[in-house]
Symmetry: C2
Subunit: 352 residues, 2 copies
DNA sequence: ACATGGTCTGTTAACGTTCACAGGCGCGAG
DNA sequence: CTCGCGCCTGTGAACGTTAACAGACCATGT
């Protein structure tokens, strides 16, 4: 691995202030400064104050690299990101980062373009080299958690968002099945005979679990389960699926696997002359910031991505503290409950 | 500053493999291993191969903390992020990160909740402590670039997205005035007598520059410049502005400061019975992934956030290499040109 | 008076790299 | 043959912090 970055021209060496400088000014040894810095109990109050004052006046910052070298702790967490330009992942990222900051950690991010094992392991490797203390993977597919299992065992990893259960790593995710049930039941309760589904990609657990939740709800209600079309997560795919649904007069209610798909479906229905919600009801999933301003405002399943991020951080920290103790028991899984947000896009089934 | 993170229980010390181990196995000195690692020219080919093989078989990874300690280079860049859950900032973040990876850098992120000087400086401080080699600030407001000027002079900073010119730091941003001109001129060319504007927050340079670009274009065309309402960047604000605009029969064309505002305007117009584009034309700014699936598909100004991220990284790297040389000349500013994307939401002015 | 133990502080040795320097070796020129 | 000058390699000392240990000091109980 050649290092092709601009070599720091060794011309300027500002000689930053270090512990010894502080120590000299405060008239103590560098070790005492260290003790003050690390809140050791056995420092006389007056000494501590003197050291603190010296640090202040010299504008001293401790050198984390040196600290990391000896403690093998970097106070840095790694995040493996995927599709972080989208609202969901971006929000999780943000949630993780703010929670991490509050806990005194820095976060480094390693994005992957695809979720294959090679790229994920490479990301883990880069993070490991930068000696992160733990890793959170924004991992919407099983392949990631599997890859994570191959990470050095000393490195604690947790997966967030997507793949529910997994014996490879602890996970935090939305209760997708519950969300799907809420949406579907809501539509059934409105009198719709059945509910169609505009799904996401079939190999994504998030999509799969929503399909299952939808299917089971229909089944439990004795409703027929219409065939499901698969697509991608975007409005374009929703538009295509929506066009097909609009052609079928039996369709009075559509549950979409996310809000972007719903946006496409809304447009397709509109162009086909179907009025929402009078002719067809539409429900989404995610509750993106502007979903309340679609035409009409979208009924959807709200998921709290920030909470997801915070919970995953909590779980990681927990595992980092007593890792060897909990070695025996299987990794735990946190499920966060989503909430139905009813707006104008869903209404009573049209009279027949 | 107390450190309240879980203390690493010093029970397990796996004693990772270090240079000395590799050296011993290859029958050379640790220094030769270092040379191989850093691609120094003066290593016999055969020796290099032996060392490489030893590294391979021991699965050696170099300890970056130690390296950072002595070289004062961490191969890590810092990003100061703001509102990173939104599409624009999130995309820039991603663009920066991928470009950084290609250049051999890791990125650490420090989000700020608000853009006041204190928080920005605190973010810089956290990044400095983790000894980043440079900083890119996603800085939509002047206050950030000003704060950046207070950063330790040894730390190279660039600002991206938003505030155009600034003598405090080099910047990379979209040519907002140009974008506004493209949008406004497009509507004028369609025969609209004038163009109204649904603006963003007045104290954001991005918003301000778009207003100016819009205003100047109208002025140059001899069109009257309608009063402008200010709002936030979201659909809710667009909706409110849209309701007011819908009441005014003179309004036949609206240029919105971003796509989310446009979404709200579209809804307001729709609810007021105005048909887009037959009664009123609407143009947005950003070209978010799903803007092509609004009802109707949105004509908008496309900005390439990823490119913005990449360019800012390039600029930063450039400044890091020959920083003392370019000391004298003022910081440079890169402007990226946006592009008009014509879709269905804009059309000829209605006959009167 | 003397051991005992607690509190506070200083000394020395890691941690794993890179840098500066010093050598050994071979080869062509004097 | 010897000198000098390239290559290639090894030795020692940083870098700035924390960990381990030892010592000084003070109070307390016998």
């Amino acid at each position: 691995m050649p290092s092709r970055k601009p070599a720091a021209d060794g011309v300027d060496r500002p000689r930053l202030t270090v512990m010894r400088d502080v120590a000299k000014l405060a008239g103590v040894s560098h070790q005492t400064v260290s003790r003050v810095l690390n809140n050791h109990p056995n420092v006389r109050e007056e000494t501590r104050a003197r050291v603190l004052a010296a640090m202040q006046s010299l504008n001293y910052r401790r050198n984390l690299a040196a600290r990391t070298l000896v403690t093998r702790q970097s106070d840095t967490l790694g995040i493996i990101g995927f599709e972080t330009t989208l609202f969901g992942p971006a929000s999780m990222l943000y949630g993780i980062e703010s929670a991490a900051r509050d806990a005194g950690y820095m976060v480094s991010i390693a994005s992957v373009r695809d979720l294959d094992r090679r790229q994920v392991l490479e990301a883990v490797d880069r993070l490991t080299q930068h000696s992160v203390d733990g890793v959170i993977a924004i991992a919407p597919k099983q392949s990631v958690t599997h890859a994570l299992a191959q990470a050095p065992p000393s490195l604690q990893c947790v997966a967030v968002g997507g793949a529910g259960e997994s014996d490879a790593a602890p996970t935090v995710s939305i209760d997708n099945a519950l969300g799907a049930r809420l949406a579907t039941q809501h539509l059934l309760d409105l009198g719709h005979v059945t509910v169609h589904h505009a799904a996401g990609p079939p190999d994504w657990p998030e999509s799969f679990e929503r399909i299952e939740g939808w299917r089971r709800t229909l089944y439990a209600a004795g409703a027929v389960v219409p065939p499901v079309e698969h697509g991608w997560w975007d409005a374009e795919s929703g538009y295509a699926q929506g066009q097909a649904l609009a052609r079928d007069p039996a369709v009075t209610a559509v549950f979409c696997s996310n809000d972007r798909i719903a946006l496409g479906v809304l447009r397709a229905l509109h162009e086909a002359g179907k009025r929402v919600p009078y002719d067809v009801s539409v429900v989404g999933f995610d509750d993106m910031p502007d979903s309340g301003f679609f035409v009409p405002p979208l009924t959807t399943v709200h998921q709290d991505f920030g909470e997801l991020g915070r919970r995953s951080l909590g779980l990681l920290l927990e595992h980092m503290t007593h890792s060897p103790a909990a070695e025996s028991q299987p990794p735990d899984h946190v499920l966060v409950a989503p909430q139905l947000v009813v707006r104008a896009s869903s209404g009573p089934a049209p009279a027949r």
